[in-house]
């Protein structure tokens, strides 16, 4: 029998090691798996490389992980935040590394890793400083950059609902990078507002099939404890 449910967030992140590459879903705070990040801070792993579109906002979640000194490198497209200086201060002090990646290239690199594609060519960023040291090849009349797949040891993501197989649906624009990261990490951990009985998710609307998911934790802070009795979620 397959049952990917974990007792709690601590159990779901207990084996993340120092130096791991951790993919964290979310665009700003939309889709950020804050309970899993809190558990990771508690767990103590350090020297992490974090792949996430942004570098934290405010003082909680990813910003708190960075502030705790656990992150040695960020891979992201937009590490600037109007309401957080946490990353900026460490970056200016030379205490955190940054690999800046155009947002579409970041998404495609993650997808490529999940799809078994080691590298691909794209015209995005050609002729810019982000193209420096990358091989260039011409296709027709377009020059393109070689970009490598980006995989993770672990992905931490947030879903609206999950079942014990790990099938997932998301909420609005909280989906963003999570389906890609689920494909690209060795171990994918999900915090879900709802953990539903098998058969509660309409197979036609499942966004992330369970094969890409390893662990499911129900959100403690979520008001919805279980799935409704009738109909698809």
């Amino acid at each position: 029998m397959i049952d990917k449910r974990c007792a709690d967030a601590a159990a779901a992140v207990h084996d993340i090691r120092d130096g791991a590459t951790v993919m964290i879903g979310g665009f700003g705070e939309a889709g950020s798996p804050t309970e899993l990040i809190d558990a990771l801070i508690e767990q103590g792993a350090s020297e992490l490389t974090v792949v996430s579109n942004n570098a934290g906002s405010g003082t909680t979640g990813l910003a708190a992980l960075i502030a705790a000194g656990r992150v040695s490198k960020m891979v992201c497209s937009y590490p600037r935040s109007a309401d957080s200086e946490v990353f900026a201060e460490l970056y200016r002090a030379g205490r955190i590394a940054l690999e800046l990646v155009p947002q579409g290239t970041l998404a495609e690199r993650i997808r490529a890793a999940g799809a078994g594609i080691p590298a691909f060519y794209t015209p995005t960023a050609i002729g810019t400083i982000l193209a420096q040291s990358k091989p260039v090849r011409r296709f027709g009349d377009r020059e393109c950059l070689l970009e490598h797949a980006l995989s993770g040891d672990v992905a931490l993501i947030k879903a609206k609902a999950a079942d014990r197989h790990g099938n997932l649906i998301y909420n609005k624009t909280a989906r963003n990078f999570s389906p890609l990261m689920a494909m690209a990490a060795d171990t994918t951990v999900v915090q879900a507002s709802i953990v539903a009985a098998p058969g509660s998710l309409d197979p036609e609307t499942v966004v992330t099939p369970g094969i890409f998911v390893d662990r499911v934790v129900r959100e403690e802070r979520s008001p919805q404890a279980s799935s409704p009795g009738v109909g698809w979620l």
């Binding site: 665009f27 497209s77 155009p102 963003n176």
Partner: protein, 242 residues
Amino acid sequence: MTSSMPRGLTRTQIAERVALDIPDGAYVNLGIGMPEIVAQCIPDEKEVILHTENGLLGMGPPPPAGEEDPELINAGKRPVTTVPGASFFHHVDSFAMIRGGHLDICVLGALEVAANGDLANWSTGTGAVPAVGGAMDLVTGVKAVYVMAGHCTREGEPKLVTECRYPLTGKAVVDRVYTDLAVIDITSQGFAVRDLAPGVTLSDVAERTAAPVVDARRGSHLVDDTGFQSGPSSFLKSEAST
């Protein structure tokens, strides 16, 4: 020596001028900042579908106070709504729309635009933490790249230049620039003025542009080689009423 600064258009008037050129049925991405105003200027008789790269097609206006949903935001991370017919999708699908050439128009801000269409809009190359977001994908993949910006910086420095000094977002990517003074196409002849704001002369524009400009207004002798349809002959829909 430059003559006194012509009054030019307000930000909202520039947005109205951009909106005039967006055809019914277009799929459009509006950049963060000044381009966001364009959304409010699209007339009801046009159905224009707004894309936001964090995973929504069919973006609506901001919600009333108190009805914000932290999981329904735009690329600027501000709360938005959906319009009927909207769809949500993940980032690879969203950027396939951009990189695969499915979006018709994007409207972006600029630090500098060069006469060959080079755009610099993501980094001043100093101090601040570098952050690019989706700008390089948009300029590479979207069918038509429009820039909306003040003609000069607050300090009066021209933003339209022979060569960008700031780090590039893309090379030869801009199709058209909308400023407070003029609408300017990027052509094989460089900056080609196709429309002037009321009360602004061609020499006003030339004096405030750090590269040659040619006259490509309707009735001028130069042939428009951008492939765009000719713009509307009257400059602003609001001009008559204001």
